[in-house]
């Protein structure tokens, strides 16, 4: 064969057995990828950070001094050789409120060169009221460019004492390498944790001295800041600063101590002032008391006075009341009288009217009577006329009868007429005087008078009146006959006339008597009427009299009434006066009471003040003494020179990188080892398979190297190709995956830098190549050493050997041949045995680590919030003032949703010992007995619980581990005021998240000389539903006393989210385990099958079914798998332990135990992978061709 033929043969070899080539290539690739990838993660993390540091000119050193740093100090530092830039920085912590909760933000003054910000948005502050906000804050609170942030002071001091602005317009958002980390530093205000920074202009700070000087060292930026060279260079500069620090610190010391002395003197004076003030207060209080007593006496006298006045008034009032009632009675009588009188008057009026009617009627009657009288008169006149006629006739007769008698007859008639006329004129004169006396009576009077007048006319007069008519007749005798005749006629006429007159006279007589009767009657009536009138008149006069008397009485009454009213008014006035007096007394009394209570309050306050002041004064005195002593003791301060390792985030990032590095050193090594072994085995096997060919070629006279070259090249090609693929994939993917996981914590980290690392690349590929190539070389070497003749003959079958198990016949005899063969096979093919076991063990271990990590991570949430942190919510108080806190307490007490609650004091603190120092939360508990309702303090992995004792503290496990301490040891605690106390650890409690130090209130008092100011309330709630917690949160946030309400469910969720990145690692582990398992098992099975091809073909020829044939091989694999799983389990537990110890973050303790189901899953998955490989094996067994396999010996 010539060279080209050799080459052709080489490629033929690859092509003919591509799976073998690929499996070698793949396993090398995997091994290299893992080895170089995981190992590159550490430097990649460092590069990524380093790039950021360099870009930002992150300070190399920071100078802080307990007394601050002056511009003189700065100038001096700037003058030191080897310093690139140095800048003074002011910082101040303030509170920022968002959504009802307060957060601490750190205001940092802008720097020009050192510690530049990487702006993700906007620009740097150019005016006092502008700021650049921490990306983390911006993300957390949804702050955007242009928003306004208002900050308040977190102490009793006004913020303006520190910075001149408290409202900042956000002009930019940025990240700083000083704050790579999600967690920020501690603070002495608020909840003690700095949430983020605000970069503001230097000019707004009113501080006398710089808080820190940040500086960069010249010519170190190009160095690896995680490396030794860098450290050395920085240390040189450090030393130089150390040299000048003494003088500067001294100067500062002098300045400060002078100031302190004056302050001390002032404080002393203040103390005295305070004492004096206290005394003054006492005096003032006493004076006030005396004044009050006096005022009381006065008021009492006044009250007495008023009381007397009141009695008088009451008496007067009674009298008045009496007279008033009397008057009232009189008034009633008067009114009654009046009513009576009025009644009478009415009756009288009626009577009067009646009388008038009667009088009118009488008048009428009189008129009628007069008319009748007149009628009678007329009759009488007529009769008298008749009688005159008669008389005439008689006269005639007389005349006639005697002419002598004539004269007599005529004389009689004229006398009568005169008498009638006289009577009538007398009556009219008598009536008029009555009418003028009284109108009412006037009408009556005529009727009364008339009858009296009508009495006058006489019937005789009537007769007389008629006489004149009959006076004339005188008769001559010649005519005597005639006269006689005439006398005779006349005589008859006269007689007729006489009878007629007599009749008329009788009528008149009758009429007259009737008239007379009427008159009598009327006269009676008239008299009656008159008497009634007189009665009436007398009654009227009586009434009038009574009336006038009534009027008199009434007038009298009115007068009395007026008097009474006047009395009443007087009384009213008097009463008013008394009432006024009363009110004024009342008000005075109230005033007095007020004054008294005020006084009492004043007293109480005074006493409280007194106590407090006393306490304060004592404290102050003690402090004063302390300070005096301190001042005496005060040594010249040292500048603290902090390098980057003191920046928490840099330090923890560096540590995390180291951790990744540590994992990278062990974890991929296993992988790599397996890979190397597998490729080694494959190559060896290949060479062994080719022994005949080698022998032939050797026999044909080829040089050793020519023969070996093929196999070495084969190995070289497979491993170099695999290695290159592996290093490219590994170093680009794995660091990114890992850094991505860490980015969750270091969220300010800029884009990952994952370059290919020459060393890791070369070293891992070299190792892989060497492994495989050397294996090939060794195999060839061994083969080539044997003489060709021997090589051409089939290799002597490997010796069957009895195994130890055969001596144990009860078991052995029970096995069938394939089982026996399996046992012997396993022992015979030791290489394969170990390889398979190792491969499966590695797979199992990786899976177990994967699932175990997941368990460990989940444990943080599950154990911490399920089993340890029993409280459901913590309410942080905004204040220590009594009232709002009491309100919160009362609300809690009445809240049916809250089962239990307890006050605690929680603050950030640094815990440490000589070796190291860690930030932790100090939790001071009032009621240590019931504290286990809120927080279970227990030993991990046992039921043993701990109590917080009086003589020491309970610290959490991770903290104990980080500090390297155990129960019984001592640690110191330094609070934010740099006050340091030493405590004993009484117990170390299981805890997974954050570091806590639990202390009893009494011990706190003993250590800090004062009661803890409880700032947090832990509650155990009825429910933990989202809805419940939302309402509860809103309810309590609305209270003045509440700063924030944090629910454990939320925290748990946050942590779970944060640790979600671990899932990624778990997936990586599972996938790599699967890959490893496949590649290893596949290769080994392949080797197994090819190696035993002949044997398997023979068995096939014997008539074994495919299944039986598979079982023949499978049995071995099952046993190997089981052994592998068992070993893998042990390996996995160890590896898991190692990984969590190296990978866990400082603030977190991963769960230490792997759950049973993780074992189960790992076993099942390993079995599944192995099963799958065996399934593939089944097919390749089926494909074995008996004829070809048995034809010859290769």
């Amino acid at each position: 064969m010539n060279k080209t033929m050799l080459a052709a043969d080489f490629f033929m070899e690859i092509r003919k057995n591509l799976p073998r080539f690929l499996s070698i290539l793949l396993i090398v690739a995997l091994g290299v990828a893992f080895f170089s990838g995981v190992r590159a993660s550490k430097p990649d993390m460092q590069y990524t950070a380093e790039a950021f540091y360099d870009e930002a000119h992150l300070m190399d050193l920071r100078i802080v001094s307990s007394l601050g740093l002056t511009s003189g100090d700065l100038a001096a530092v700037q003058g030191i050789d080897g310093i690139e830039d140095a800048e003074g920085v002011y910082t101040a912590d303030a509170l920022y409120e968002n959504d009802g909760s307060q957060y601490v933000v750190r205001l940092r003054s802008n720097t020009e060169k050192v510690n530049q910000l990487r702006l993700t948005e906007g620009r740097l502050p150019e005016r006092p009221g502008e700021c650049v906000v921490d990306r983390k804050l911006a993300d957390k609170f949804g702050i955007h460019n242009g928003d306004v942030m208002t900050v308040t002071s977190g102490t009793s001091q006004d913020l303006s004492q520190t910075v001149s602005e408290n409202r900042f317009i956000v002009v930019g958002i940025g990240v700083s390498p000083m704050y790579l980390w999600r967690n920020r530093e501690t603070s002495s205000i608020g909840n003690g944790t700095v949430e983020g920074f605000l970069l503001v202009q230097k000019e707004i700070f009113n501080l006398g001295a710089y808080t820190e000087i940040d500086l960069t060292v010249a010519h170190v930026r190009e160095l690896d800041s995680f490396g030794k060279k860098y450290e050395k260079k920085v240390d040189q500069v450090k030393e130089r600063i150390e040299k000048i620090q003494k003088d500067h610190a001294r100067a500062r010391y002098d300045e400060i101590s002078k100031q302190a002395e004056t302050e001390l003197i002032q404080a002393e004076a203040e103390l005295q002032d305070a004492q004096k003030e206290l005394d003054d207060a006492k005096q003032r209080l006493d004076a006030a008391q005396a004044e009050l007593d006096q005022a009381k006496a006065q008021i009492n006298a006044k009250i007495q006075e008023i009381l007397t006045g009141q009695t008088t008034v009451e008496e007067q009032e009674a009298a008045l009341q009496e007279s008033s009632s009397k008057l009232e009675a009189a008034k009633t009588t008067l009114d009654q009288n009046r009513a009576n009188l009025l009644n009478n008057q009415a009756a009288l009026n009626a009577e009067g009217q009646q009388l008038e009617a009667a009088r009118v009627q009488l008048q009428q009657s009189w008129n009628d009577w007069t008319n009748q009288g007149n009628g009678l008169q007329a009759e009488r006149e007529r009769v008298s006329g008749e009688e005159q006629k008669l008389d005439q006739m008689r006269a005639d007769l007389e005349n006639k009868r005697g002419q002598l008698e004539e004269l007599q007859a005529s004389l009689q008639a004229s006398a009568y007429e005169r008498g009638l006329a006289n009577g009538q004129s007398l009556y009219g004169a008598e009536l008029s005087p009555i009418e003028s006396t009284d109108p009412g009576e006037t009408e009556d009077t005529p009727s009364t008078e008339n009858p009296a007048e009508t009495e006058e006319p006489d019937p005789t007069e009537n007769t007389a009146t008629q006489n004149p008519a009959t006076e004339d007749p005188s008769q001559v005798p010649p005519q005597v006959q005639q006269l006689q005749q005439e006398i005779a006629d006349l005589e008859s006429d006269i007689s007729a006339k006489e009878s007629e007159i007599a009749e008329a006279q009788a009528n008149i007589e009758q009429g007259q008597s009737q008239l007379d009767a009427t008159w009598t009657e009327l006269d009676g009536i008239g008299r009656d009427l008159d008497s009634r009138i007189s009665v009436y008149n007398s009654a009227v006069s009586e009434l009038t009299a009574a009336m006038s008397q009534l009027a008199l009485g009434e007038a009298d009454y009115a007068q009395q009434k007026a008097t009474l009213d006047a009395g009443m008014i007087a009384l009213q006035t008097a009463k008013q006066a008394i009432a006024n007096g009363q009110t004024s007394i009342n008000s005075t009394q109230a005033e007095l009471a007020g004054a008294e209570s005020q006084l009492a309050k004043g007293k109480e306050e005074y006493e409280k003040n007194y106590r407090e002041s006393k306490q304060k004064m004592q404290d102050a005195t003690r402090e004063l003494n302390d300070r005096k002593r301190q001042l005496l003791k005060m040594e010249v301060p040292e500048w603290n020179l902090l390098d980057r390792s003191f920046i928490q985030s840099c330090e923890s990032f560096a540590k995390d990188a180291d951790r990744v590095g540590a994992i990278g050193n062990v974890f991929p090594l296993i992988f790599f080892l397996v890979a190397a072994l597998v490729s080694l085995t494959s190559i060896t096997r290949m060479v062994e398979e080719k022994r005949t060919e080698i022998g032939t070629m050797k026999a044909l006279g080829y040089q050793r190297y020519e023969i070996a070259a093929k196999y070495i090249c084969y190995a070289l090609l497979a491993s170099v190709l695999g290695g290159v693929i592996g290093l490219i994939l590994g170093q680009t993917i794995l660091p990114r995956v890992i850094i991505r996981a860490y980015r969750i914590l270091y969220n300010s980290l800029p884009a990952t830098k994952a370059p290919l690392h020459l060393w890791y690349s070369v070293s891992s590929v070299l190792v892989a190549v060497l492994c495989t190539t050397l294996a090939a070389f060794a195999a060839c070497y061994r083969t080539l050493r044997t003489p060709p003749a021997q090589l051409m003959r089939p290799e002597a079958p490997k010796n069957g050997r009895r195994v130890f198990l055969e001596k144990w016949s009860p078991v052995w005899s029970r096995l069938n041949f394939s089982q026996k063969a399996a046992v012997r096979n396993m022992i015979r093919y030791k290489k394969r045995f170990f390889m398979t076991v190792f491969g499966i063990a590695a797979c199992m271990a990786l899976l177990l680590v994967g699932f175990g990590l997941k368990n460990s991570v989940t444990a943080i949430g599950k154990e911490q919030f399920g089993n340890l942190q029993k409280y459901d919510a913590s309410i942080s108080l905004a204040t220590t003032d009594v009232e709002p806190v009491e309100e919160v307490e009362e609300t809690l007490r009445q809240d049916s949703g809250v089962k239990n609650f307890q006050f605690i004091y929680r603050t950030s603190i640094d815990a440490g010992n000589k070796k190291t120092e860690k930030a932790a939360y100090l939790t001071v508990v009032e009621d240590t007995k019931s504290f286990d309702k809120y927080m279970r303090l227990k030993k991990r992995g046992s039921d043993k619980t701990y109590q917080i004792r009086e003589d020491g503290v309970v610290i959490t496990e991770k903290l104990a581990r980080l500090l390297g301490v155990k129960a019984g040891d001592h640690i110191y605690l330094t609070d934010s005021d740099h006050y340091r106390v030493e405590v004993k650890i009484t117990a170390v409690t299981e805890n997974y998240y954050l570091h806590y130090i639990y202390m009893s209130a009494s011990q706190y008092e003993a250590l800090y000389g004062g009661k803890p100011e409880y700032n947090e309330i832990l509650t155990v709630n009825q429910k933990t539903t989202e809805k419940f917690e939302k309402t509860m949160g809103e309810k309590y946030l609305a209270l003045d006393g509440v700063n924030n309400v944090v629910f454990n469910s939320n925290t748990e969720e946050t942590i779970q989210k944060m640790l979600k990145s671990m899932d990624l690692i778990v997936v990586v582990l599972i996938v790599s385990a699967a890959l490893l398992c496949f590649v290893v098992l596949y290769s080994l099975n392949n080797i197994n099958i090819t190696e035993r091809r002949r044997e398997l073909a023979s068995i096939k020829v014997l008539g074994f079914y495919d299944r039986e044939l598979t079982m023949y091989v499978f049995r071995e694999n099952v046993v190997l798998t089981v052994i592998g799983i068992l070993i893998g389990m042990a390996l996995g537990v160890l590896l898991h332990r190692f990984v969590i110890l190296t990978a866990e973050l400082d603030l977190i303790m991963f769960g230490r135990s792997i759950k049973w189901y993780s074992y189960l899953f790992s076993v099942l998955l390993t079995l599944a992978f192995a099963g799958f490989i065996n399934f593939i094996m089944h097919w390749s067994l089926k494909k074995i061709r008996m004829v070809e396999s048995l034809k010859s010996v290769e």
């Binding site: 069938n816 026996k820 014997l1102």
Partner: protein
């Protein structure tokens, strides 16, 4: 009495890229039950091919292989396995014993899987290895190994014993004793034994000699009086 084994126009073609290799090219022959058959022919003639086809280790491209009345050529993989398991015993030139089973276990390995096996120890006695039963193959000489292989084939009590150059790797004496074992087995158990050999001398001991050349049967000769192996020298 009809043929126990009958091959009719058995053809086996190997396709090697462009060329077709007709390893068996229309083989026809008959074998009666209990016959001791020797197949001879030059190298590459197709003897092994034919034997493999008869033993159910391979399938022919064309033709019929009737063994005890059934056409093996039509068998599928599983039936072929069953056929090998129950009806055929194989002896190879290179023994092909399972290295990590003892001699007895190798025999038992075969006997345990078939329905009507012979007692393994008995068979071992028959092949004269009762003292070496617990030895591993590597501890046995080639002849002893070949005896184990024969014992393994016999233990299955097969209808057909197929031997491909069983003495090829053995010296004269050992070869002879192996052949003797085969012949006596044939005679005593009335087992049909087919032996491939390059040794023309052995044709004398066969009941039937089949000569194969270029994948074809060139001659089938019935030996009226087969001689005992002891009588044959070469």
């Amino acid at each position: 009495m009809g043929a126990f084994v009958e091959l009719k126009n058995v053809t086996k073609v190997y396709h090697m890229g462009e060329v077709d290799i007709r390893a068996a090219d229309g083989i026809d022959f008959e074998i009666l039950k209990g016959e001791f058959v020797v197949i001879v022919g030059p190298s590459g003639a197709g003897k092994t091919t034919v034997l493999n086809l008869m033993g159910g280790m391979d399938t022919c491209t064309e033709g019929q292989i009737i063994v005890d009345g059934t056409n093996v050529a039509e068998f599928d993989e599983r039936m072929l396995t069953e056929y090998r398991r129950e009806d055929v015993g194989f002896v190879f030139q290179f023994y092909n014993l399972i290295g990590n089973l003892t001699a007895l276990e190798n025999v038992e390995l075969a006997s345990q899987i078939c329905a009507d096996p012979l007692d393994a120890v008995e068979v071992m006695k028959e092949v004269g290895l009762e003292d070496r039963m617990d030895n591993f193959p590597a501890q046995l000489s080639g002849g002893e190994q070949q005896r184990v292989a024969i014992a393994r084939a016999l233990a299955k009590n097969p209808k057909l014993l197929l031997c491909d150059e069983p003495t090829g790797a053995l010296d004269y004496q050992t070869g002879k004793s192996i052949l003797k074992l085969l012949q006596s087995t044939c005679r005593e158990k009335n087992m049909t034994v087919i032996v491939i050999t390059h040794n023309q001398a052995l044709t004398a001991m066969a009941d039937r000699v089949i000569r194969i050349r270029n994948g074809k049967v060139s001659e089938t000769k019935l030996n009226e009086n087969p001689v005992s192996i002891d009588a044959i020298e070469w």
